[in-house]
Symmetry: C2
């Protein structure tokens, strides 16, 4: 699986979302054409993306919705439980903790952190918000798979470093900044610190969506052209 | 500009975010290699994405940060003001309204809507939250470029239809569902209603980020391989 583009993984997530909606509508079969139209990509793209991971359909018969859904859940690793801490429990962190559907996927919030004394100590979803200073001790004592960063932009870098120092290997960053690994000098060359080895950062950016939307409002034919590109 | 992949637009947004951060760090020059490394794509990809829109650098000299930033702002249409309404002013809608940085981009909130009587009438960012029933009248009287949907999943479809009926042509959907245009029958064929012509929907999905992160935590070498693919 060495050559799978990141965009293909994003599209798998979109296909899974579409399959879930088809299931709630009691639709039991779909096709690459149907998925393509709903995802606004080409049918060729759908088949290529799925082919990275196996053969899920029957030639000329399309896909069985619950089977393809189950397979994508497995490919994405969503058939296991993920222990998550949220750093930053302002409006955004609270919106995340209460986002509908996260619990469907066994994302389990095990710790909530903030630096604001008015928020520390509050009870949110059966958890007492802890001070971010306690993050390292907490992660030493509790297995944590992912950290969600919902802090203001100017605190994101330090909060990310605190998560990585504490041993968390996956970060979902909601702040509108690009997290950079702390670099260390070795033989005159600066390189990411050892603690950043195998750390994955994914960005969720409200502004990114707004910016894409601005572009497509100004260029509506681009989107339309893609929708029609379904062979 | 008929053949620009949607993924290229997403990457432009990422490059812009990186350029903004370089600017705050007083870095005045960058290169396709540098941008590529920070965006976790190949340098070839960076050059190809930028080439859709013009020639922004000097061969062998790289890019001037403020100039490339200004050009991407222009390409994305972020040098003009966008009037925005938010439908759904629970935790998520409030987090959006207060998201840092949106005001940098002349996204201007002109109306906030909810159905919850405890939220309607509240004052948020100098606006009084109105009942969603008033959306159509409001949009008739006030130019609105975009609607942000922050309603629960089971209300997203109706809220999107209300926005489109009211004449809004761009929707940023934060609910974890795929919005489907209301179809009408014409000559035995069901097709999207006329009101959906040139409507653009962009999805921002918290869960999508969580799912991608799960995949990359399980497959860390995939991400590493991409980072190294910088020629």
């Amino acid at each position: 699986m060495a050559d799978i583009p990141t965009a293909a993984i994003s599209r798998l997530v979109t296909y899974l979302r579409i399959l879930e909606q088809l299931e709630t509508q009691d639709v039991s079969r779909t096709s690459s054409n149907d998925l393509a139209e709903r995802a606004q990509v080409s049918a060729f793209q759908v088949r290529k993306d799925l082919a990275y991971f196996g053969r899920f359909g029957t030639r000329g018969m399309g896909y069985t919705v619950p089977i393809l859904k189950r397979e994508l859940v497995r490919v994405l690793g969503l058939n296991r439980t993920w222990s998550v801490v949220i750093v930053g429990m302002g409006r955004l962190g609270q919106a995340i903790a209460n986002y509908p559907g996260a619990s469907d996927y066994r994302f389990q919030y095990v710790g909530l952190f903030d630096v604001n004394p008015q928020i520390v100590g509050q009870q949110i979803r059966d958890l007492r918000v802890q001070h971010t200073e306690q993050l390292r001790d907490f992660v030493s004592a509790t297995p944590v798979d992912m950290g969600f960063l919902a802090v203001p932009p100017d605190r994101a870098q330090d909060a990310a470093q605190a998560l990585v120092d504490a041993g968390v290997r996956g970060i979902l960053n909601f702040a509108p900044v690009v997290i950079q690994p702390r670099t260390t000098e070795r033989g005159g060359v600066s390189e990411p610190g050892e603690e950043w080895r195998n750390v994955t950062i994914e960005n969720v950016d409200f502004l990114a969506g707004m910016k894409r939307l601005a572009f497509y409002i100004l260029n509506p034919t681009l989107k339309a052209a893609l929708t029609e590109d379904t062979e």
